[in-house]
């Protein structure tokens, strides 16, 4: 038995990990997600919640399908929160494949769940712009020179909510959802710091340790990975109970998407801890026998 474990085929480990993730998805296993006051999900929530209704919010979806598992739930939660507060939403993206997510946020979340909101008056999209940090830098100087039209090729002067906008400095808050570069780091470096703009962000787990040093100044709050998104969804549902409605939970972009992904996460982590313990036990047994 010990010998079998010592030479355990890695494919068995993969298969067990696959089962640890698949079974909780199929059984819809989930756990309560208590969010203590003062933690990052609350800080992010408060930044959006405490803005006066109708404030201008710039949402930059800087990610692609490769990281949608972690970031799409929080992107949609941010959109819902801004819609609940009646903030004016200005979408954009620095990643080309982020644009379909912007369209889904506008068409599916805002179009279906908040049909009273109108494109051009309550929300609009600048679309994708290449140029990475140069785009951010220019956005705080002159938005209209940077984006001549919106993503639908309409003149920005013909859109009510962009007619009187000069630059990103006109925004009351920047929300960035980031999968890498360009992303939160660049928004902090080229917009939030020089223009003294408040910013909150959601990022992948890989990025989180690199972004923690920017908290609390200038980064007012950070949702790290799926755990941060789940906490934010929980805070949102506590504040807006109608988001716990089965119709919203069952929609394509569920209001509980991140919370539902914490179930498989929990089981997979338990399995991983067991593997680590098992590996160490075998190591110490071998060491005791003098084989290590």
């Amino acid at each position: 038995m010990l010998n079998f474990l010592r030479n355990l085929d890695r494919r068995i480990v993969f298969a067990l990990m696959g089962l640890a993730v698949a079974v909780p998805i199929l059984t819809k296993l989930s756990f309560p997600e208590p969010v203590p006051k003062g933690t990052q999900p609350y800080k992010v929530f408060d930044q959006i919640e405490n803005l006066p209704d109708g404030s201008r919010v710039l949402l930059s979806f800087d990610f692609d399908p490769g990281s949608q598992g972690e970031l799409l739930p929080m992107a949609m939660a941010f959109t819902r929160h801004c819609a609940e507060k009646g903030h004016k939403m200005y979408f954009m993206c620095l990643w080309p494949l982020g644009e379909p997510f912007v369209e889904d946020a506008m068409n599916i979340i805002l179009g279906e769940e908040y049909p009273d909101l109108t494109y051009g008056e309550d929300f609009m999209s600048f679309g994708y712009k290449p140029g990475n940090e140069a785009v951010i830098k220019n956005s705080i100087v002159d938005l209209k020179a940077l984006f001549i039209t919106d993503s639908r090729k309409t003149d920005l002067n013909a859109i009510p909510m962009t007619r009187n906008i000069k630059s990103a400095k006109s925004m009351d808050l920047i929300i960035n959802i980031s999968a890498g570069d360009p992303g939160t780091k660049q928004w902090v470096q080229y917009a939030a710091t020089p223009a003294d703009l408040p910013i909150v962000a959601g990022c992948t787990g890989v990025q989180a340790p690199l972004l923690y040093p920017y908290i609390p100044d200038p980064l007012k709050g950070l949702l790290p990975a799926i755990k941060g998104a789940a906490g934010y969804e929980q805070v949102m549902m506590d504040a807006y109970p109608h988001l716990a409605d089965p119709a919203v939970i069952g929609s394509k972009y569920s209001s509980k998407a991140a919370l539902q992904r914490m179930g498989p996460q929990f089981v997979a982590h338990i399995l991983m801890v067991l593997f680590i313990l098992l590996g160490n036990i075998i190591y110490f047994i071998d060491k005791k026998k003098g084989g290590a």
């Binding site: 494919r11 993969f14 990990m17 696959g18 993730v21 698949a22 998805i25 199929l26 819809k28 490769g66 990281s67 949608q68 598992g69 972690e70 080309p96 994708y128 712009k129 290449p130 940090e133 140069a134 830098k137 001549i148 039209t149 919106d150 639908r152 090729k153 309409t154 003149d155 002067n157 013909a158 902090v188 470096q189 080229y190 939030a192 710091t193 020089p194 992948t204 787990g205 890989v206 989180a208 340790p209 040093p213 920017y214 100044d217 200038p218 790290p224 990975a225 799926i226 755990k227 992904r261 498989p264 996460q265 997979a268 982590h269 991983m272």
Partner: protein
């Protein structure tokens, strides 16, 4: 016999072999797919198609068909709906899309069992599709949206960007990037390849200067400012214990790590012990980073399984 099995194993290892094992896997998958198609309606996407019409009346576009309109345009929009929605029809293109996504996902995942032709095929498709996508995207967002709208605005408005303001005019400054682009492409010429070095030098110099200031401000000065915080933290209720402990940990952590990277002094005695503490702080940081990375990877797997079970197999 022994020789044949060795050959087979080798060809399987480099991913180029296509032995009996993989033929059986394909067979099982085909049977499974047919069963899933009929039993679970796997991957079937139904859409509702609507025709949208706009008419041009007195220089303004209005929704719907209007008699005597100067121009009229119509197009169809399709929205994904449930199969039981009246008027819903099976969408061939979207159904093929879901099946293709599912098959490619499984092909990529098959790498866990070992390198194989399915993985290689999926990998090649990703690389090819990405390259083509970037090429087209760069043309529209770089050349059209940045260069042409500023150099030939009228032609670009008529051809590609109808929303371009009438006030847009020829901007002479954009001749510089045009010339630099031409010089960059000169690299492909058999002679005068050195010409490409000039625009490259410009890009490197400009980027370095551009980044220097922002790094200095947000990654250096602001970080020093954030580290110099009061160790005795007070709030509305007076002294706050845990925030004070946090401030102390940040200060000690930063100092220990700085000592570890200070190589002008031998790491012995008090300096050595502080440097060792710095290593522990770094290890904790790496551990946290690794833990978050693992969490991210599990989420990616969760998302893919979610797609397979929900959108492909209709199990959820």
């Amino acid at each position: 016999m022994a020789s044949a099995s060795v050959t087979n194993a080798n060809s399987s290892n480099d991913g180029s072999g296509f032995g009996l094992g993989w033929a059986i896997v394909i067979g099982i998958f085909v049977v499974f797919s047919i069963g899933a198609w009929f039993a679970l309606d796997a991957g079937k996407v139904y859409t509702l198609t609507e025709t949208v019409t706009y008419s041009q009346v007195d220089d303004a576009w209005v929704s719907g068909a209007v008699d005597g309109a100067a121009q009229q345009v119509s197009w169809e929009t399709s929205t994904a709906v449930n199969a039981d929605t009246p008027g819903a029809a099976l969408s061939a293109s979207r159904t093929i899309g879901v099946w293709l996504a599912a098959i490619l996902t499984l092909c990529i995942m098959s790498f866990l069992a070992g390198d194989n032709p399915f993985y290689k095929a999926a990998e090649a498709i990703v690389v090819g599709a990405s390259a083509a996508y970037w090429m087209v995207l760069s043309f529209w967002t770089g050349i059209v949206d940045k260069l042409l709208v500023n150099l030939i605005p009228d032609i670009t408005r008529a051809w590609a960007v109808p929303g371009l303001p009438e006030s847009a005019s020829f901007d002479v400054i954009y001749l510089i990037p045009l010339v630099l682009s031409g010089m960059l492409i000169w690299r492909l010429s058999p002679k005068g390849g050195w010409i490409a070095r000039w625009p490259l030098a410009f890009v490197i110099g400009a980027t370095a200067g551009f980044r220097l200031l922002s790094h200095l401000e947000s990654d250096f000065l602001l970080q020093i400012k954030s580290t110099i915080t009061p160790l005795y933290v007070t709030g509305a209720d007076g002294f706050q214990f845990w925030p004070s402990v946090g401030a102390l940990v940040i200060l000690l952590g930063v100092l220990c790590c700085l000592v570890y990277f200070f190589f002008s002094m031998e790491h012995k005695g008090a300096v050595g012990k502080t440097a060792r503490m710095g290593i522990y702080v770094l290890m904790v940081t790496f551990g946290a980073a690794f833990g978050l990375t693992v969490m991210g990877r599990i989420t990616l797997l969760t998302e893919r399984f979610d797609f397979l079970f929900r959108e492909w197999l209709n199990l959820l």
